[in-house]
Structure formats: structure tokens, C-alpha cells
Assembly symmetry: C2
Homo-oligomer: 195 residues x 2
């Protein structure tokens, strides 16, 4: 599992071999089985889960129904920031859509590590705006387009995700019931065939 | 205008007086009139606009209709990260809902400033996760609740915003037409009266 973190950090040219080895040595890496719940509603998200391999789903139970808010894949931090920053109970669950390998660090561990290896802050500075950019695009997707348009945009921009995630989770990710989603997919398929 | 930035940075205990004065001296601050367009669709968002005073609206034109994606108020960065990070044309507009005072720095100016005053990175590290947290909550609001619930949650969590922004913009912010929004408000008022 250390290899995968080494490979990830090596992509950023900022670090020399010794630094990478030291960072990897001091970072907690855990593996989780598909379906594992990493965080439950009501608990505090006091760790930053960074996805090295796999896919983590954020969902919320609303009137007993699972509503999928986000998917986090390789290179993304699965963190529920409201809970993480304010030490408040999370409204959301985090669960593993696939077998996952994640770095798992508390805020204190993260601070300690940044103090020891200031270049790590550079990494956070590089990655967080990318995650935030994805969140901004997701807001636009949900607010500015109808469900069919949302699915078409997802097919264009996140085709890989669609292949990795069960259909009923994609349905709730674009804000429709599985039945509506099935109708949308049929409609699109029909259009594709007729053109 | 410098005073307002001085006051803002002073809230963070990390900086001494001289540092604050130097940072303020080296930061570009601009004022914009209510209604001013800061960024147009198709242009690159190559500046980070940080709101010291006022409210900036992010919107998108979809089939000729303005869809409001976000509002940024005091203490928030109005940045369209996809465009900013990738130097790509923005899909969105940024406009001033009120008279605004904003810091306006390019990525290069920002980098220069961070190099000179490394503690500024601390500020970014403190503020960006807060903005990201708000984006995560907005995703949940849009994806997991119906329009009436969205408005009720907004009344609870962002009451101030609702007082500062025209109703038709709030309507598109929760993803409904002005007509539907008017019906929602009437329904809520009726319920409130009958309890």
C-alpha cells in the first residue's frame, strides 16, 4: 500500500526521494472492503480520507431514502468539511463503492506532518482547489440543467465514474428515482439509435 | 478601502502590524458598482476576487435564461476554479448584486505575495475549506431536498443572504421559476399563519 502513495507523491516534482520516503513512512494508509461504512451520520468527520485507490460515496438519509451527494475517486479527498472544520456531527455517510485504499489522518496528524514537511502544504494547495472546482461544476449541473441534461453531461465528463458505480446510485446522484433514470436512459438510447 | 482589508486580516491572530501593513500595501483592492459585470462567459477567470464588502453572484446563461449558481459574500473568494486552474473560458458570469469592494489578484500576483508573506498561505488554508464546505452543503441542498425544503433550509441557514438578494435571483438559486417560487412562499406563509 505504501507503493501507491509513493507513486502518487512522485508525480509532483517538488519532492526528492528521501522526502517522499519520510512522508510515506509517517502517513497512515488503510484498506477498506467494498461496502464498508467509513463514517456514519451523527459521528464527527475528524479524519481526512484521501483516495489512493477506489471510490468513496457520500450520501445522506432523507426520509429513509439514500441521497447520493458525491463520489470521490483517486486523487480526491473524501472529507465532509462542515463536520471536519466545526467538529460537528455529520449529516452524511461515507461508504466504499469499491475496495478502497485511503490515507486516513486526523487534523492533528495532518498539521504535524505539514510542520515537518512544509512542501506537503503545496500538495494540499494544488489538490484542494481541484476538488472545489469539481464541487462548483456539480452545483451548476444540479441547479442549471434538467435530469436528462445532467446525465448527458456526466456521460461526457465523468464516463469512467458511470462505469464504476451502480445505476441506482447514479440515479440519486443526478437527483432522480431509479424509475425516472431508467426512462431517461431509454430515451437517450432511442435518440442515439435514430441518429 | 485599505482599512477594510486591514480589519479583515487583523482578525487572524497570526500577523503582526507590520506584516499586515505590508500585505495591504501590496494587494490590489477595487470597488465595483452594483450591477457591474466582473467576468463574462467565454473569458478566462484569471483573477481571484475576494469579497471584502458586498455580494457577488455567479450565474450561467442556459437557453437564454440566467441560472444563479452561487452567491459570494464577505469573507468568501469569488473564483471560478475550473476556469482559473485550467486557464479555460468560463461558462459563468460574475456580477455584483450590491456595491462591492474586492481584492483582485492574478495567480502570479497571489504566488508572489505568498512567497513574500508565507503566513498568507495560512489564511488561504483557513478560508478555502470553509468555502468548499459551503459548496458541499449547497450540493446537498440541491440534490437531496425539494424546492420548498431548500427555501426553508436557506431561511434557517442563510437568512441574511435572502434579505440582500432580489427574489428572482433566489428563485433561480434554488432551481425554480419566479412563479413557482412565489407559490412556495405563499404556501409557507399560509402554514406559518395557521400554526
Amino acid at each position: 500500500m505504501k507503493r501507491i502513495l509513493t507513486d502518487f507523491i512522485s508525480k509532483f516534482k517538488k519532492f526528492d526521494e528521501n522526502e517522499i520516503a519520510a512522508i510515506v513512512e509517517n502517513t497512515q494508509i488503510e484498506s477498506f472492503k467494498k461496502g464498508a461504512l467509513i463514517l456514519k451520520e451523527g459521528n464527527i468527520c475528524n479524519k481526512c480520507y484521501f483516495v489512493l485507490k477506489g471510490c468513496v460515496r457520500q450520501f445522506q438519509l432523507v426520509n429513509g431514502e439514500e441521497k447520493t451527494t458525491a463520489f470521490f475517486i483517486e486523487g480526491q479527498a473524501a472529507v465532509l468539511y462542515s463536520s471536519y472544520l466545526e467538529n460537528s456531527p455529520s449529516k452524511y455517510y461515507l461508504s466504499c463503492v469499491e475496495d478502497c485504499i485511503l490515507t486516513t489522518g486526523t487534523r492533528e496528524q495532518e498539521k504535524e506532518l505539514h510542520k515537518k514537511y512544509p512542501k506537503l502544504e503545496y500538495l494540499v494547495h494544488t489538490l484542494m482547489p481541484q476538488d472545489y472546482a469539481k464541487a462548483q461544476e456539480r452545483i451548476s449541473l444540479l441547479n442549471n440543467y434538467n435530469p436528462e441534461e445532467r446525465y448527458l453531461i456526466l456521460m461526457e465528463t465523468q464516463a469512467e465514474l458511470l462505469n464504476r458505480v451502480p445505476l441506482h446510485q447514479i440515479a440519486s446522484y443526478i437527483g432522480v428515482t431509479p424509475e425516472s433514470f431508467s426512462r431517461i436512459r431509454k430515451r437517450i438510447l432511442k435518440k442515439e439509435k435514430s441518429t
